[in-house]
Structure formats: C-alpha cells, structure tokens
C-alpha cells in the first residue's frame, strides 16, 4: 500500500442545534493513502458529507474535536490562513450540483483562473489563460476557447461537472474529495465522468475520497470502502471483501436493497425505520440496533468499538457475529398488504 496521506483520529464534528452541540461525525478514525480511491457510503444523514467537509475545513460554525493529520501536520483546527493554503492546492473538492456550485454571474474561465491565481499569484494573465485552456482540454471539453467565455447556464450538466473537476485539479492536489459527483447526471455521462476521474487519479497519483450512495459506483471505482451510519464508520474493508463478504448488518442489508440490473426479480430487502435525526441519535450502545429490532439486545456491545476482523477489515459492534435476516421479513417489508 502507498504512503499515508491523511490520518484522521477520533474525529468529532458537532453542530449547534439550539443550545446544544450534536455530533454529525462521531469518533471517526480513518486513514487515506496516496493513490487510492476510498469510497464513503451511507444514506443521507449518515455524516458522510460532514466528514468530507471536515477534512476540507469547510464547516463554518462547527466544533471539531480529534485530529486530522495531513502529511503529518494536524490541521483539525488550523488557522484560516493555513486552510486557504491547503484548500485548492493540496486538496480539491468536486460537488454534486454543478449548476449551483458555479457562480452564475462569472464566465467559466475566470472561475477556473481564480484557483490558479490564489496559489500562484505571480503567473501572468496570459499564462493563466493558457493553463485554463489546457485544463479544460484535459477534462475533455471539446471547444475550450469557447467554453472559457461561457457562463455556467450555457453548458450541459456533464460539461459543467467537467468544469468543476477542472477547478478541483487546477493545482494538482494530492487529495480529491468528490461528493456525489455523478448523482445529478445521466448514466452515459456518469460513465464518462467516472472514467475521467479514474484517468486523472492515475495521472496525478492523488487520493480520491468518493462519497456516494450508489453501490454500483463503489464497486466500479473504489479500492477501499468505508460504510457510515449515523455519524460513525460501521465497516471498512477493501472493495472485494466489503461487497463479497460484508459483515456489519447495515452493509449486508444495504447490498440487498439495491435493484440489480442483471435481472433477478427477487423482492428488494427493506431496512426498517429511518436514520434517526441528529438530535435523536442514541448516544450509547449500538446505533444500528433500532433498525434490527428482531436481534436480541445482548448481541450489542455497550460501547461499540471498531474491531479488526482481518487486516484492514474493521467492523463496529459485536452484533455482526450473531446477525441473521429476520425469518418473517417478507411480511414485515410488505406491511399493509392484507
């Protein structure tokens, strides 16, 4: 495995709701290696985006506890000046909604140039423009000279996403965080964008943190996968192990709930209940216990830890050892059919 790029230790990111702080990311310990694609999977409210924002220092009013080491430097509570040096140069971010992620009143060229300008104030305007055109070409935009002068709303969703990627990679960052980069796109465009990301990763030898809810994309892109539930990582493993031999109940159920395009028309598995809201999370015990009520309470740990099952494969809580799907889940999931 390549060298460590980011090492996160017991990270806790809390937001203020009324007068209390609630942790959206709770006790996350994670290492990101160079030249790997680490997928973070979870449903909305799992804390996956909050984790990504914490790594980029993009939370404005959050309380960050724990440590985030970037190449050995603890940046968890770095100064704004330090963050401005890191962001855009060492780490870039790719967003989900390309239309709202670009300034509607600025031409594409200026928006990409801004990243270059911020980290290399010395290069001339002409040089900057040449580099922007190069970047646009690199991300596969067919007429870069024209696109340079266009506004975001004049481009298609796929083209805009390429512009977002151009902004993120402008300064050859070591870490790329892609937050649901293809959710808003059509499948064929999605395939192209994922292809581009793969190509760029191999070229730049950067690490990509891919946040997604789509397990198909995980299977195609990831080297390692971290599954998040209610602010915590419940399972980490390499992609083969995670998909072929998942251990945590949540991972198992998630994999069963995806309609497969390969045909089998079996009933989809339904995970009962919903991800609890931030302020209603159980703070003690296994956070997933409410979603598997048929399991005996004694199978859970009182203070669930990440257990290293095999080298590199971690699972939270002991409940995985006893987990079985409910026998009566057929009736459960078809509730309402009389």
């Amino acid at each position: 495995m390549d060298e460590e790029l980011v090492k996160i230790k017991q990270l806790k990111t809390s937001f203020r709701v009324l007068d209390d702080y609630y942790a959206a990311v709770d006790d996350v310990t994670l290492t990101i290696y160079k030249n790997e694609v680490l997928a973070i999977v979870g449903e909305s409210g799992s804390g996956k985006s909050a984790l990504a924002f914490s790594i980029m220092g993009l939370h404005n009013r959050a309380k960050i506890e724990g440590e985030i080491y970037y190449r050995g430097e603890n940046i968890a509570n770095a100064s704004p000046g330090r963050w401005n040096k890191l962001r855009g140069r060492e780490m870039g971010m790719i967003f989900q909604d390309s239309l709202s992620a670009l300034n509607p009143l600025m031409i594409i060229g200026t928006q990409i140039e801004e990243t270059l300008l911020l980290h290399n104030p010395k290069i001339s305007a002409r040089e900057r423009k040449i580099r922007v055109i190069d970047l646009l070409m690199k991300v596969g935009i067919p007429r870069p000279e024209k696109t340079y002068y266009q506004y975001p709303h004049e481009l298609s969703g796929g083209m805009r996403q390429r512009v977002i990627i151009a902004i993120a990679i402008a300064n050859q960052p070591q870490l790329l965080i892609a937050d649901e980069p293809t959710t808003a796109l059509d499948v064929t465009i999605q395939a192209q964008i994922l292809d581009l990301l793969r190509q760029l990763k191999n070229e730049m030898r950067a690490a990509i943190v891919l946040i997604t809810h789509d397990l198909g994309i995980v299977a195609e892109m990831a080297d390692r996968v971290a599954v998040m539930y209610a602010g915590q990582i419940v399972e980490i493993a390499d992609v083969y192990t995670l998909i072929e031999n998942p251990l945590h109940p949540y991972t198992k159920m998630l994999l069963k709930s995806v309609p497969s395009s390969s045909g089998a028309k079996s009933r989809l598995h339904v995970i009962q209940g919903v991800v609890p809201a931030l302020h209603k999370l159980p703070r003690e015990g296994c956070r997933f216990r409410g979603r598997i009520p048929w399991m005996d309470a004694s199978v859970h740990e009182s203070n669930p830890m990440l257990h290293e099952v095999r080298p590199g494969h971690y699972v939270r809580c002991t409940c995985y050892q006893y987990f079985h799907f409910p026998d009566k889940y057929k009736e459960e999931s078809s509730h309402g059919t009389h």
Binding site: E43, S44, G157, D186, V187, T188, I189, Q190, A191, L194, D195, H213, D214, L215, G216, I217, A219, E220, A222, V239, Y240, I243, M253, L254, L255, S257, V258, P259, S260, S261, S262, G263, K265, R267, L268, H269, V270, I271, V274, V275, S333, S334, H335, G336, T337, H338
Partner: protein, 311 residues
C-alpha cells in the same frame, strides 16, 4: 385489450423569438411515439434528460397539450375535446411525482392532502372521508395519527407514501410514476418499490414508470421503451431489451450501468469503451441526417428497434 394506447404521439413546444415573440421553430419533445400498456402491467420508459419521457407522462395526464396523435384510454379517446372526457378520465389516471418534498403542500395536513382528490370527485361526509383516508393510510403503511400531521414531520420515504396514498385515493386504473424514487435513499427506495409492487397486485394497477435508472426499470417493468431525442429507439420485454439489445444507443445505455461486482470492473470498462467507440463510429448508420432515430422495425413479436432500412 390494452388499457392505454398511444399512437403516433407528437408534442411540440414552440420557441418564440425576435422582437415580436413570434414562433420561430418547434422543439420536438415527443416526435411520433406509439406504445400500449396492458392492464396490470408495468411499462418502463427510459431515456436521458431531454429525451421526452417526462413529456409523455405529462401529456397523458393532460398537463401538456398534444400536437397530434391519439391516446386511447379504456376505449375512450383522449383527443381534442379533452374537456368533456377529461373529468372521468382524471379519476382513472393518477400521478406519483419525483420529489416528495415539493409535491406535497407544506401548509396542508395529511388528511387534506389525501382527501383532496376525494373532495374533487366524490361528495363524502366528514366521517366517510375520514374513514377513507384512514383506510388509505393503512394501505400505505402509515398510522392513523399521521392524518393530522404536516408533511415536514415525515421522512422522504413516508412522504412518498403519502403521495402514493393520494394517487390511489380514487381507485385509479393507471398510475404514472415519474422518477418515483430518485430523490430517496437506497433503503427507502426499496421500501417504495416493494410497496408499489404490492399495491399493483392488490388493486390491479397499471404503471407507466418513467425513470433514468435502468436497475429500477428492469426490476419493475414488464415492457420497456427506450427514448432518444423524442423518439423511440427500441421497445420490448425487459428480457429482450437487457439480453438482446439491437440498437446502438440501447447498447451504450446498458453498458454505462455500473455493475455491483468489483471483479468485473476491468471487463466492464473495456466493454464500455468498445461500445462507445462503436457508437461514435456507427451512429450515422443508426440515426438519420438530423441525428434522430428511424421508425421502429419488428425484431420479434414484442421486440422492436429503430434500425436503418437495410436491417
């Protein structure tokens, strides 16, 4: 006898321009589409954004005007004089919307949301109405207390169930589901899809399922139509489309679906690249000079593809 038959449907939208906002040209959102759905079946309509799939759904339910063509529902033509036939048909065709957050009026209670179609079409006493709503909530698996709550008190999946309860309130025959789960998380998505299958069996519903997600389409549909720029490129049973695609566009669409097996990824990448190259090389054979699909030609009894004249 098909429940709904769409024949050579065309829906054009005018583009206005110039100083006096005169009609300059038309966007051919739907450009000559025909299909029919048998009672109790699910028809999947697939295509990328801008392919016209949503316009078809909106035209059937009357939200868009058709430019030409014929829609026959339950032996009644939804033709030009839609107003007269409309009222009865409106009861029989209902819609489930994509976004459960914006399709429910946030200022109305659940009972008012679900009872709205009932109030429009049936004169019920308050007590009758209440028991009907209660019954509907029971069918979609929500507790009766939900009646007096507001949409924001529910999760996305629950809201989509409220939307479904509203859609089935009048015992419709056809439900048009436009991307019913694309705003939902995977686990919730499974919940809603299972549930749609359950009530289909129970109430003998017919679905027109519009989606860009081929996994969902395959999982749910009996027949599938694939659209590209307002026209059909291929139509057939789910198996025919997925195992024996004929049109280059269908092949490309299918090859773009991510596969859940990580060990296949290199194979898939290669195949995808091959299909993409083929698409670029051969697309002029598969599309006419305007880049549009040819008329459909039969491959088998149920399978049609828009292949060029020479076959």
């Amino acid at each position: 006898m098909a429940l709904i038959e769409v024949e050579d449907l065309k829906v054009y939208f005018p583009i206005r321009g110039g100083i006096f906002r005169t009609i300059q040209e038309y966007v051919r959102a739907v450009d000559g589409v025909s299909f029919s759905i048998e009672k109790g079946q699910t028809y999947g309509l697939v295509g990328e954004s801008g392919s016209g799939k949503t316009t078809i759904g909106r035209t059937i339910i009357g939200l868009n005007k058709m430019t030409s063509g014929k829609i026959t529902f339950d032996s009644i033509s939804l033709g030009e004089d839609r107003r007269r036939s409309r009222l009865n048909i409106q009861k029989d065709i209902q819609m489930i919307f994509q976004d459960p957050y914006s399709s429910l009026n946030p200022k109305k209670r659940v009972i008012d949301i679900i009872a709205e179609p009932l109030r429009n079409f049936e004169k019920l006493s308050t007590q009758e109405e209440k028991s009907r709503v209660q019954n509907l909530l029971d069918i979609v698996g929500l507790s009766p207390e939900a009646m007096y709550k507001y949409p924001h008190e529910f999760s996305g999946g629950q809201r989509q169930r409220i939307g479904i309860a509203r859609a089935i309130a009048l015992n419709p025959k056809l439900i048009i589901a436009d991307e019913p789960v694309s705003a939902l998380d995977v686990s919730v998505q499974a919940q809603v899809l299972n549930f749609m299958q359950d009530i289909q069996k129970e109430l003998n519903l017919t679905y027109l399922l519009i989606s860009h997600d081929l996994g969902i389409i395959r999982h749910m549909s009996d027949y599938i139509g694939i659209m590209y720029k307002g026209r059909y490129v291929e139509q057939g049973t789910a198996d025919e489309i997925f195992t024996n695609p004929q049109h280059i566009y269908t092949k490309r669409l299918l090859s773009a679906i991510p596969d859940i097996d990580p060990r296949q990824r290199e194979v898939i990448f290669e195949k995808r690249l091959k299909v993409r190259d083929e698409f670029v090389k051969l697309s002029k054979n598969y599309f006419d000079e305007n880049g549009l699909a040819f008329p459909l030609k039969p491959i088998s009894k149920t399978h049609f593809a828009a292949l060029p004249e020479r076959g």
